[in-house]
């Protein structure tokens, strides 16, 4: 972790100086997590919006202070805002039926490599059901924690809520997932 953090601090300094290798290293380090977060948020075009996140970040990289840890938090803040903006646009366009179809297409598209192909259709359906059962702010917090490796405090800054509010959303979100999951599996609770 220390080596990785040091390497990313060097990359961040390079990127601030306009070095393409610095940008490339930051992209390699964070791109799968950022696009994973956007895919899980079921945005309209995850690849395109991930590009938008990194372009915005790299064009404004001199405005973010601090180390690579701070950069990651800032980057996911951009991703969070991009997902919110996309959701607003899509709510104006989509009804619930087409949203379900879109979610299925997203999960199917995610099955494009060997690891993802190991995920069965039943598991895809289960993931969709579980995420759909979360309140929006619970889903936002859980997905940020799952994909971004941000702390509770960093997540609180991204979603503009207090530390305690984020912890409460985590507890309620996990409890909600457990209820649905164990109800499907027939576990009493």
């Amino acid at each position: 972790m220390g080596d990785s953090s040091d390497r990313l601090d060097v990359a961040l300094r390079g990127a601030r100086a306009g070095d393409p290798d610095g940008f490339d290293a930051l992209f390699r380090a964070h791109s799968t997590a950022v696009v994973g977060y956007l895919r899980a948020r079921h945005v309209s075009d995850p690849d395109d919006l991930a590009n938008e996140v990194f372009v915005r970040a790299f064009r404004n990289i001199r405005t973010v202070q601090g180390d690579s840890d701070r950069f990651r938090s800032w980057l996911f803040g951009i991703a969070h805002n991009v997902a919110i903006d996309d959701g607003r646009r899509r709510r104006r366009r989509l009804n619930e039926t087409s949203l379900d179809a879109h979610v299925d297409a997203q999960l199917a598209a995610a099955g494009g490599d060997v690891e993802a192909e190991a995920i069965t259709e039943l598991e895809r359906q289960l993931i969709r059901t579980l995420l759909a059962g979360l309140a929006p702010d619970q889903r936002d917090v859980l997905l940020l924690r799952v994909f971004s490796d941000l702390s509770v405090a960093q997540t609180a800054a991204v979603v503009d809520k207090s530390y305690e509010a984020v912890k409460a959303l985590q507890r309620r979100g996990i409890a909600s997932l457990r209820r649905v999951l164990h109800a499907q599996e027939g576990v009493p609770g």
Partner: protein, 60 residues
Amino acid sequence: MYDSPECDDATAEALLAGAGQDVDPALARVLDLVRLSYAATPPIVGAELGALIHRVAGDD
């Protein structure tokens, strides 16, 4: 092991950190699947981002 749908901070932290197999194996497995299914591949690099990082668009 799982015995209630309620959740404390330690359980939530363990599950979200990918270390929840001991507290709730079924949910830990689902969260692993979420990571695997959505973050399996990097995004395709478009022209504007590719120019910034000096890559050919679409090249990983």
